[in-house]
Symmetry: C3
């Protein structure tokens, strides 16, 4: 990882790289148990959150992570920005770089934007979600959460369930699970399934038959807009076939874990009781997000010298 | 106070508790006179401002207070949040807690929200205003301001004037003044008076007859919407009967103090000359707000060990 | 400068004052080259960004500058503020001061607002742009950028090109260049030219004839609204006469520098190739902005004792 400067998607990482990230996140998760949850590792560094899509959840997770590394954080969100004045993405990015930012955490509704920034800037680029394309820190925090609960991931089975087609969480997550040697099943109605999938992924539209084999069930958020687009007939129909409810959970292995990237639609893709059941690691995912993002910021910005600073 | 973890409303506090808070605020107000107005008391702690109603004034006061204690501050306001995506209050709160926040400062238009958060979270909850219900830090900063100007509050007389019915400032303030042994008069037109009041409160709709007895006159903000609701006939009528103008101030005791929670409608509930008169302690209230909120954050989050750190 | 408490416009400064500011900015620009781009000079000081007009660019520049001096920064922008509740500018300002802020960085659409704040407040006031009137930190960062590239400014020639009439950048910039002994040419269509100009300024509407004499060409942002107001006939016409394109740049001195305050309308007032040409110092202006604003904050808030702290 020491030579890696940007985090654009998980497929730039080897299994060894990912294990290094997860180990570093583990050590930061221990820092987060202390009364003073802060280390000086990135003091004097500046991280900018450049968010062209609203997402308080992800933005705050990166903000907390950067602040606990003692970095300065700037929030640059589209609604209050000079984007209104029609400035180009490139000029906005060059402006931020000229101010001396060390890392740009970027979210954009257009796929590929982080790659453009990488071409234009010297700063480290962290992809916090681009279009329907990639969301690598989510994939890595999900791996961290799984490892904490079920240990070695090699050979374990995970099902991603729901709107695979439009989900950058699934797209990066499936790749990451593949790198770690997991068996991946994509469960989705035919209309919410991408035309092409990595060959290692098994595809199913029968959630019930998949459940008994899963070590991890990963529920994706359904978006109501997809219904208007004709992607699924009705919420009732979708819920009947794809909601993870207590009955379905009862047919899973006792030690199965249930994940969701948030925010949840309780009562749609996931029953409220399931979200609060002991199998659910959904709030653990959020906690992992801070430690994981600390690890990524640390490795990208200060990794070479920083090993001791964490301790 | 050392065992108190949340600040939901003033009636959870004894007179001794309140005096402890005011003493602590006093020591912080001295810190705020120094060239370096900052202490390391809450370094490594994270405070989130969770504001479902816009209020720059209160939000910034808490933000300044937390930063001067060296805490990290996150601002989570409704307009930029995933509330738009329909996330429940509970999931938002659990998400923030999973990120490791130590205190949640919450403002919400629905009464009772801070009590819900207290049930769901481990973090300290500070009520920064819930519906028409409570606003305890405002009540405490008002007590601090009064004490600074008129000393011991026992037996002193305060009149709250205006829209008592819809005012969380009045509701918490009246309770707080009662705990401190003050005599409270509620001056309001019958349509802006709550159906029930604490028995110690005297009720009047004749402002002029109340003025000569007051040590403190507390003017409440009038909201124009109330007129549309038929709560008062016209701004002119309201102003004639309830505005504190120079003529009315002239009939008060010479040492009377005039208070207002801000933001003021100059020329409506308070004449502009009165707002700027020497009797007015309105900007002193704002200054007290920072010291008082430092005291509350300090006592809730770091109190047991922190006594020396203030000095 | 040690006795100067506010920065309202450049004409309050002598040439010596400006040189002091530029020297201080130079030393901060060296700090910004270090791995840890931060000094403790303003620790415990609070700077508020009071922005009544949206401007992420300038707001973030001040925010970075203040944070690199270790000050605490509060952002108070109109859209989320109690301005919605109708609080007066004066009460907002007094409220911020009562919270103990040391400096107010203010941007407002009305000319003169920073002078009003100066009358009302004890805090240092920094004008970050008022109406069409003044923008002194922009003028000073422009001087800094020029000095870095072309050395002593005495006797050098600068052309401001475009909408001089509505530009606070030009208005403060022209004054600043005058103080430094530069020769200033204002190039604008008659409808975008102010009725009165400082006597030292030469006026022209023939951009092509001015180009060969310039050491600096300063392109101003054109605003489309001006077209609706009948200030210029069409974008095509404006572009033909006043755009700095490669052909025009080719007729300038080889060592000419090209400036723009940003955000640019690429393809309107400036051709995209020119913006990216080696003559362009537009991103250098942004970088200078941080160092210059650090210098101004430092001199206004901590100057008397701070000389050594910078080093």
């Amino acid at each position: 990882m020491n030579e890696i400067k940007h985090l654009l998607d998980v497929d730039q990482l080897t299994k060894d790289d990912i294990e290094k990230v997860l180990e570093t996140a583990k050590s930061f998760s221990e820092v987060l148990q202390r009364p003073i949850k802060k280390v000086p590792s990135l003091r004097g560094k500046t991280v900018v959150n450049l968010f062209y899509e609203p997402s308080t959840r992800t933005r705050i997770s990166f903000e907390v992570a950067a602040k606990r590394l003692s970095a300065d954080v700037l929030n640059f969100s589209v609604s209050t920005s000079s984007v209104e004045k029609g400035e180009s993405l490139k000029d906005t990015a060059l402006t931020l770089e000229a101010m001396g930012v060390d890392a740009v955490v970027v979210r954009h509704s257009a796929s590929g934007v982080p790659w453009l920034l990488k071409r234009w800037l010297q700063a480290s680029i962290l992809n916090a979600g681009d279009g329907m394309h990639a969301h690598p820190t989510q994939a890595l925090l999900d791996l961290f959460t799984m490892t904490e609960r079920i240990g070695d991931l090699q050979g374990k089975t995970i099902a991603y369930v729901g709107d695979i087609l439009h989900s950058r969480v699934a797209r990066s997550g499936i790749k990451a699970c593949g790198i770690m040697g997991m068996k991946v099943v994509a469960v989705a109605p035919p209309t919410l399934r991408p035309p092409a999938m990595p060959p290692v992924v098994e595809i199913s539209n029968d959630f019930d038959s998949v459940i008994p084999d899963c070590d991890v069930i990963y529920m994706l958020r359904i978006q109501r807009e997809r219904q208007k687009e004709g992607r699924f007939p009705s919420v009732e129909e979708y819920t009947r076939l794809y909601q993870l409810d207590m009955a379905r959970l009862g047919r899973a292995r006792p030690e199965v874990i249930v994940m969701h990237p948030g925010p949840m639609n309780r009562g749609i893709e996931i029953a409220s009781e399931v979200a609060d059941a002991p199998h659910s690691v959904i709030t653990a995912q959020v906690a992992a997000g801070v430690a994981l993002r600390m690890a990524v910021l640390f490795l990208l910005l200060g990794g070479s010298e920083g090993g001791e600073r964490v301790a």
